[in-house]
């Protein structure tokens, strides 16, 4: 009797899923109608997201998820913004040019003759979301907070401000940064521009500080209204939706869409179906196969860029057998089916990788040849050189990113021809993050991005002990010498310096520890009723610049 009941239960669940999906579709269509009826006065957006953010504060709880990045960049802003350029209908970040955000629009900063002091001039009459005026003290305190919290994501900041005394408040709207190591490898401006450079409302945050939490980190992870960004959080229903309201006093002008309702739709296929049917205006975090399926939908537009910066990072951990042997690592990279992964898993929504240095970095003449190609014979030969014919590998992946899981499965399928017996270890996001922080994996596959597209910033992924150093690379004398030579060769985008960056790229590829195996295209889809699709340093949608198409 019991099994009959359960079998019936399976059928009932299946029917329920179909009904639910049909219900979603119907609801979506009805929304679509109402949306199109009110298209002329549209001031609100509905977005389908995979999950809600886990923290509103980068400093307090670093968690590099799409949702967190979105929330940080929509509620906060820094001294500078990257300039942008329009490419095929997509507003793309120009990583080499800056403009004032909280800093003055026409004269954001000046640099001393010796390149050691950057003086920023703040805009006047800027107020925070809480209504407090922006001052140079807010800037100084914000940087000091990043240094004091010990947040794992802020090693970039520490590289430039290892001492709060390096900051000098000159007056209410002027602050100087005295650097100890400015030079050709200077990435101060990008550090102050992206996620790491957000400036906070000191007065508001200090209202919520306690003796145990002097920087109000605990409060800030769960509350907004202490930044200067385009939106504040109006409400959040855990597990269901979050509503953002435009900041009418936003320094760059109130966004066109005053209300953004982000609804949680955990399934990628359903999110894709919703945007293609007009049920939502934007769908985030879509699986490549779903992007491909709805690409020709009459209601949908998808951003594609020439030089994507988000990548799939394969790390073979150097201090764990069998990958403590460089030859085995090289063999494994020769056993990865790059083209198959791009074709089968990413449905063409990805490009081959030549290594860590992307076209966006604007280093002239860098090789675009793939770092590795699938070559079973070479892999076998290298394994034989290492004295092995068969190697067991556990490849850990987060189970909430289907394309990464599928890529790992495909690697396992093809690598066995070379002698690698790959077990795909699917972990919950929390377990995966813990294992990554603890450096307990033998190998791992994860989506990542270099938010600061400067050649020298690549070093940030190879710092001993840093969570981004997934392959546990230990800098060698040769490595240090290569970086020093590149830094001394001139500006990073110069022809003179280019050969040195090429050598570093070759060194990393040859070391075969942590290499991007492909670069993926943006994973969002937009309604065709919108303009200003974005491709940013953090790969998130910039809702503050989205506008109705008509």
């Amino acid at each position: 009797m019991r099994k009959i009941t359960k079998a019936g239960g399976v059928v009932a669940i299946g029917a329920a899923i179909v009904l639910a999906v049909t219900g979603c579709t119907s609801a979506g269509n009805s929304n679509s109608n109402s949306n199109s009826n009110s298209a002329t006065k549209k001031t609100s957006l509905t977005v389908a997201v995979a999950a809600l953010p886990t923290s509103f504060d980068l400093d307090g709880a670093f968690g590099a998820s799409n949702e967190n990045y979105t929330m940080w960049s929509q509620t906060q802003i820094g001294l500078l913004n990257y300039k942008t350029k329009l490419e095929n209908g997509v507003v793309v970040t120009d990583f080499t040019h800056f403009e004032g955000a909280l800093a003055d629009k026409d004269n954001p900063y000046t640099v001393s003759d010796d390149g050691q002091t950057y003086t920023f001039h703040l805009r006047k009459d800027v107020v925070s979301q809480a209504g407090n005026p922006l001052t140079a003290e807010d800037v100084r305190w914000s940087i000091e907070r990043k240094l004091s919290d010990g947040g794992v994501g802020l090693t970039q900041v520490k590289a430039y401000f290892n001492n709060p005394d390096q900051m000098e408040v000159i007056d209410d709207h002027t602050i100087a940064f005295h650097l100890h190591n400015a030079g050709n490898d200077n990435v101060l401006l990008p550090v102050l521009t992206g996620q790491t450079g957000r400036i906070y409302d000191k007065v508001e945050l200090l209202k919520h500080a306690t003796p145990d939490d002097p920087w109000a980190v605990k409060w800030a992870t769960q509350n907004t209204g202490w930044g200067f960004g385009p939106y504040t959080v109006s409400s959040m229903t855990q597990g269901q939706q979050i509503v953002l309201k435009a900041n009418p006093k936003y320094v760059l002008g109130e966004p066109a869409f005053r209300t953004i309702t982000m609804k949680v739709v955990p399934d990628s296929g359903t999110r894709a179906q919703l945007v293609s049917s007009g049920g939502v205006d934007v769908a985030e975090a879509l699986a490549p196969a779903d992007l491909a399926t709805i690409a020709k939908s009459p209601k949908v537009q998808e951003p594609k860029v020439k030089n994507p910066i988000e990548f799939i990072d394969l790390s073979l951990v150097q201090n764990k057998a069998p990958f403590d042997d460089k030859t085995v690592r090289q063999a494994f990279f020769n056993a990865v089916p790059y083209k198959e992964i791009i074709d089968k898993v990413y449905s063409g929504f990805a490009v081959e990788s030549s290594g860590w240095f992307t076209g966006t970095m604007n280093v002239p003449g860098l090789s675009t040849k793939p770092a590795y190609t699938y070559d079973v014979d070479k892999a076998k030969k290298l394994l034989a050189q290492a004295g092995k014919s068969s190697v067991d590998v556990t490849l850990s992946v987060p189970n909430n990113v289907p394309d990464v899981v599928d890529a790992a499965i495909l690697i396992g399928s093809f690598a066995k021809k070379a002698g690698f017996n790959v077990t795909v270890n699917q972990l919950s996001p929390a377990d995966f993050a813990t294992g990554r922080l603890n450096h307990s994996f033998q190998s791992l596959l994860v989506a990542n991005r270099v938010q600061i597209q400067y050649p020298s910033f690549v070093n940030n992924f190879f710092l001993p002990g840093d969570p981004s150093n997934s392959g546990d690379f230990q800098p060698t004398a040769e490595w240090n010498e290569l970086f020093a030579s590149a830094a001394a060769a001139g500006p990073q985008t110069s022809k003179e310096a280019a050969p040195y960056w090429q050598k570093i790229n070759d060194f990393i590829n040859d070391d075969a520890s942590q290499i991007p195996i492909l670069y993926k295209q943006p994973n969002q889809a937009y309604s065709k009723d919108l303009v200003n699709m974005t491709y940013r340093y953090d790969s998130t949608v910039d809702y503050s610049i989205l506008k109705p198409a008509r």
Binding site: R2, G269, A287, D290, E340, K344, P402, I409, T423, Q426
Partner: protein
């Protein structure tokens, strides 16, 4: 967790006395045999290796790939066939372990729970624990056990066995409570047989019927629980062809028209569970015949009778 079983008298009443009835009873096992045959013959009948990418991804059903291909280009027909192998492997192991464990624990509880002292306390305690575990939904219990032990085939086996062992425990306990009132036990005791020997020779063989008849139910339930755990991502490791994981990973594309990655393994779960359920209905008719043969063959029983 409930199980329906007729008592020995009822079973004997419906026992096939004619050849036609026996044949019908034997034929009832065909669906189960079919599932087992698919599992055993998977390497012969599957057209492709189930864990190798053999074609382009997400191909719809075609003459080359009858069930289409999945997100990484693996043949879904081959994976569905091999899925039966995984289900049967787990089903057989869990059914045997649960039944053996259930019979032993149930016998112990039945014999000890009414006695005083430590054994009585232990028997009553085990009975209570069994009742509590019975009240917890299988999948929840499975999640907890796998969460504690970590994801592995061993952990899954333990988790599912823990879910399903409770039925044979309760069935055997009830039978033992009935059998222990039989007069031949009193006779054995007067003849000087030890309690342990009486339990082994007289109580257990006469109490295992319901638990044995419950075995196919455990098998079927194991298939469902395994698929459920695979569906929520804590089953066997990918890319092992397990039906629940296949349904889960294919479900996302269902709303976009790619139905085949989820529908075929879902149909496999449904059909195999129905097949097992159908065949298990023949057990009550076959059990008396089998029991008679088992008792004749049982060397301990022969010795005792001698």
């Amino acid at each position: 967790m409930s199980a329906q079983f007729p008592d020995q008298t009822a079973a004997l009443a419906v026992a096939p006395r004619r050849t036609g009835g026996t044949i019908r009873a034997v034929f009832a096992f065909v669906p189960l045999a079919l599932v087992v045959a698919i599992a055993v013959l998977a390497p012969v009948i599957a057209p492709y290796d189930p864990v190798t990418s053999v074609a382009a991804s997400r191909l719809p059903p075609s003459p080359e790939h009858w069930f289409g291909t999945d997100a990484v280009g693996m043949d879904i027909l081959s994976r569905t066939i091999y899925g039966a192998r995984i289900a049967v492997q787990f089903g057989v192991i869990v059914a045997v372990l649960s039944t053996i464990g259930g019979v032993l624990i149930g016998t112990f509880i039945g014999l000890s729970e009414s006695s005083s002292g430590v054994l009585g306390l232990l028997g009553r305690g085990l009975n209570q624990i069994s009742s509590y575990l019975l009240a917890i939904p299988d999948v929840i219990l499975g999640i907890v056990v796998v969460g504690i032990m970590g994801s592995s085939d061993f952990a899954l086996t333990v988790a599912i066995t823990l879910c399903l062992v409770q039925a044979p425990v309760k069935l055997t306990r009830v039978e033992v409570l009935r059998v222990r009132r039989e007069s031949y036990l009193e006779s054995a005791k007067l003849a000087g047989e030890s309690s342990f020997r009486a339990a082994l020779v007289h109580v257990m063989p006469n109490s295992i019927g319901p638990a044995m008849r419950n075995m196919p139910l455990i098998f079927g339930n194991c298939v469902i629980i395994l698929a459920s755990l695979g569906f929520i991502g804590i089953g066997v490791k990918a890319p092992t062809p397990e039906w629940g994981y296949m349904i889960s990973s294919g479900l996302s594309s269902l709303v976009l028209g790619r139905w085949w990655p989820a529908v075929f393994p879902a149909a496999a779960v449904l059909l195999s569970v129905l097949a097992i359920a159908y065949s298990s209905r023949a057990i009550p008719r076959m059990w008396p015949l089998l029991a008679v043969r088992v008792k004749r063959w049982n060397p301990i029983g022969r010795k005792a009778r001698a």
